[in-house]
């Protein structure tokens, strides 16, 4: 079990690092899209490659970021029933869910999307839109994203089982400090007090 927990920590660290890199793509895609919109109108110039790179990048965000979102436990749940259960029961549900729901989905989609990447790569497929991009990088994101999600699933499974064995604290309790809403509230309150002190 200790070896598995070490594996889980390694996966978590990797996922964390990948997530922190991938979220910069948000800023990149905002800049590309806004610039593209202005340039298209102002200089009447556009290329499909600018449009396609936007969804390539967005796809990278949500596919590669899926594992990171799982690590942060931010995939939404309907917790109207499970919210009232004990921590043990919630962790049991996750064990069942990871094995029976998450794994089959990630394996099937990841497995079946690999040949599409190989096909696009071998044929040097290019988008059918004029000036379009090479297709294989976008095709590659799918199996990579689902592999990362699967790996994070393994890590989460290890953590759930370790908790059920009493080895680690409840992994479903929020470990990452305050939520975005709490931070916003603190920020405004701080600003208010600063204003109040000045006046």
């Amino acid at each position: 079990m200790n070896a598995l927990l070490a594996l889980s920590r390694a996966i978590d660290a990797l996922t964390e690092r990948i997530g922190r890199v991938v979220y910069w793509l948000i800023l990149v895609v905002v800049v590309i899209s806004a610039t593209n919109a202005v340039v298209r109108k102002a200089f009447n110039y556009s290329s499909n490659s600018f449009l396609e790179i936007q969804w390539y990048l967005f796809s990278a965000i949500f596919l590669v970021g899926a594992g990171y979102t799982l690590l942060r436990n931010e995939h939404v749940r309907i917790d109207i029933v499970s919210g009232r259960l004990t921590a043990r029961a919630q962790n049991w549900i996750d064990v069942v869910g990871i094995v029976l729901f998450l794994f089959p989905m990630t394996v099937i989609i990841g497995w079946l999307s690999w040949p599409l990447f190989m096909d696009a790569f071998v044929r040097h497929e290019v988008s059918t839109n004029a000036g379009g991009l090479t297709v294989w990088p976008a095709r590659l994101i799918v199996p990579v994203g689902f592999l990362l999600l699967f790996m994070q699933g393994v890590s989460e499974l290890v953590k759930r089982i370790a908790f059920l064995q009493g080895r680690i604290p409840n992994p479903l309790e929020r470990q990452h400090g305050r939520s975005a809403e709490e931070q916003l509230a603190e920020e405004i309150a701080r600003q208010r007090n600063a204003d109040g002190a000045r006046s």
């Binding site: 997530g19 922190r20 991938v22 979220y23 948000i26 895609v29 905002v30 590309i32 899209s33 806004a34 593209n36 919109a37 298209r40 556009s46 499909n48 449009l51 936007q54 969804w55 967005f58 965000i61 949500f62 596919l63 970021g65 899926a66 979102t69 931010e74 995939h75 939404v76 749940r77 309907i78 109207i80 029933v81 499970s82 919210g83 259960l85 549900i93 069942v96 869910g97 029976l100 729901f101 998450l102 089959p104 989905m105 099937i108 989609i109 999307s113 839109n129 004029a130 000036g131 976008a138 095709r139 994101i141 799918v142 809403e181 931070q183 916003l184 509230a185 405004i188 600003q191 208010r192």
Partner: protein, 586 residues
Amino acid sequence: MSAWLVANIAPLMFVGLVIVLMLGFPVAFSLAAVGIAFGLLGIELGLLQPTLFQALPERVWGVMSNDTLLAVPFFTFMGLILERSGMAEDLLDTIGQLFGTIRGGLAYAVIFVGALLAATTGVVAASVISMGLISLPIMLRYGYDRRVAAGVIAASGTLAQIIPPSLVLIIMADQLGRSVGDMYAGAFIPGVVLALLYAGYVFGVTMVKPAWTPALPPEARTIREADGTSGARSLLVLVIVSAVAGIAFAKLRLARTPLDETIVIATSVATGLAFVLAVINRALKLNLLSRIAERVTFVLIPPLALIFLVLGTIFLGVATPTEGGAMGAAGALIMAIARRRLSLPLIRQAMDTTAKLSTFVVFILIGARVFSLTFYGVNGHVWVEHLLTSLPGGTLGFLIVVNILIFFLAFFLDFFELSFIVIPLVGPVADKLGIDLIWFGVLLGVNMQTSFMHPPFGFALFYLRSVAAKKEYTDRLTGKRMAPVTTGQIYRGAVPFVLIQVLMIGLVIAFPQMVMVYKSAESTVDPAQVEIVLPPSESSAPPPDFGVPQTDEQKEQQKEKEDAKDNSDAQSLEDLFKAPAPGPGK
């Protein structure tokens, strides 16, 4: 046994989904798992082709190459940057001062600012948190009824859901296969009417229970003239001058443009003029404007500029909704830099939250697509259609049942789940019944807005609870001890607004014209035209096929049917809105 299974696999699949979702495992994976499990069962029973799952990668690909969804991270990011920029706080302070001294004035200010913030971004949490921290303590200080105060804040925050640019409208447009621009144009008037209904409720309260919403004493104003007067007259003059200029400009120059375009231009001209006058007044120290007039002009400029940048460009047809979102996000960044509020931790946090939100949203969609692959394969859509078309009362019966269903589901599902699970089931039926899908989408949008206000799980109530005083506290200004705001007060405060929401659903059903205005907005950019399209390809704008496998012939027929329907619907409305001269878009 297996014959029974074959006959009932669609209803079983639906029940299975409900049970699995209730377990509380992430929705995205639960949806996919039910789709895969029943897919295997269907293959075993000989109902489905063994190659069924080969279609999965293409389903994921379809989600990836969907331009509409790109607007989700853009508007989320914009909202997150904006909520930290201090814009909401400035607005609440100034507008609160402006309206405060009339009875119910603070409540009107909250509704007005709520609507304004809603038109800038689509984030409910930010509005509710700002208002809960800034307006609620002031309302309590001057003796507002706690239920009214809490209800008005929670409800005004949820306006972000229905007033464009809101995330739910983007997703609704995507799921119904309609353009986001049309959905925005259609939702605009209902959103404004809803804000007016809220204000009407406050007015009713001031009439029946004046003590619940007292006027602020004059000394509560900090922005006033040297002689102690409010300076409101000067503001009124400025407003009238700007409004007249804007309307006159629109009338003179733009008689031939559609209604929404005229509104955008007139508002921009009016705002621009007010801004220029205020700047001249300040620069030359003319003192022609009162302090409040100057202050109001300056705090209104940033939100109005952002609204123009996003909604204005979309309605003018200059930008697609996705581009509008990107420009809005860029504009919010620039504004935050100008106000010295932008820092690396803030950007990181905004990107982090945006990435996680977009990921879970898109993954619910992927899960829903996996589910629908099997569900349509076993003719689940036919089952749903029979179920819904056999209702008494025809179209109206269908609308009422669907709305009741969503109203109750909204107690425990949020709008992402509702849009991705329920809309694909009811959308095609609505289309078959000849219901305009934009109208249908706006109607359901108003309905889903209640999911934020339903006690005890409504998010707006939850956010308000998190910032309202839980313990007795000392008021900073008066030094008086104040009682905490109880959770019961927040819940009870929300009830009248949930009822207003139900009333609004009825109004949208009774007066479809409010939504149908979108048909005069033909100039909206069609994303399909932006791309330099050679032959139609898989990445061009998808037809509204709800994932139902269709032959090209069927699509052709559907298209013709729609065209015919659009024409007949549009006729009377065109008479209404395009009477002076037919727009160039037609």
